[in-house]
């Protein structure tokens, strides 16, 4: 635990925690992802066999989670940039966070079928 933190909870801190957690998650995914993509240099079969894992229901669901993490990190990242560079950014940081969450929910709802269609179609037929 970091010593003597001054944070007192509330939106500003929780959005920071979520930004940090999602950033670290995406980085670990990217590390694995470059490794799996490198299999195209081994053989088409090695690559296709590995990509088949991406098409299993559980991993497909995790992809939806990855989309959730990246969308939050991207939208909240833009909010952080606005807080730093826009003269009124700090004043409206809370409103911007609610905007971020609103846009996030809309995009997540829109991404549900496209991202999970592979699983939905294999589980429930076309």
């Amino acid at each position: 635990m970091p010593a003597g933190t001054l944070y007192r909870g509330r939106e500003g801190m929780w959005s920071w925690v979520a930004h940090r957690v999602t950033g670290v998650l995406i980085f670990f995914f990217l590390f694995v992802h470059v490794l799996d993509t490198a299999l195209v240099r081994v053989s088409p079969e090695a690559y296709d066999d590995t990509v088949a894992i991406y098409k299993t229901p559980l991993v497909n669901l995790m992809e939806y989670g990855l989309v959730a993490a990246i969308l939050f990190h991207a939208l909240n990242g833009l909010r952080v940039i606005a807080v730093d560079f826009w003269s009124k950014g700090a004043k409206y940081q809370k409103q911007m966070l609610w905007t971020v969450m609103g846009v996030w929910i809309v995009l997540m709802a829109g991404a549900f079928y496209p991202v999970l269609q592979h699983t939905l179609r294999t589980l429930f037929g076309s």
Partner: protein, 159 residues
Amino acid sequence: MSTTETTGTSEPTDDVALFDVDHPAPVIEPPRARTAKTPKSTRGNFEMYGWLFMRLSGIVLVVLVLGHLLIQLVLDGGVSKVGFAFVAGRWASPFWQVWDLAMLWLAMLHGANGLRTVINDYAERDNTRFWLKWLLYAATVFTVLLGTLVIFTFDPNIR
């Protein structure tokens, strides 16, 4: 709280000017001012450039990564179509090669610099911090080089 002005009733001492053009007030040096005797700063602006890079790369990554996810997971049947043949089709175009190369370098450097901050925050022992960062830099250099090599040496007729 009163903000009333006292008008016209100046104190007797105000009449005697302590300093004038011929008797200027002594110059008080501002605290911590840099003078000829101040040692040269041994720090560069590394952290400031790191801070700026996180923001500039972040803006570019919004387009690169969200575009990538749209193509890979949303359009044209979602993840179903991904496979060797699909990758061969995409990397036949220099546009997507450059896209992926930029995404690889920016996301890796952005993520690695972010993780460096996280390590600095939580690893309190000097030794732990040193080794965790060494591991981070090694993994980052390895991943960036491997990914770059894969893009440049991709061979659709490997078999």
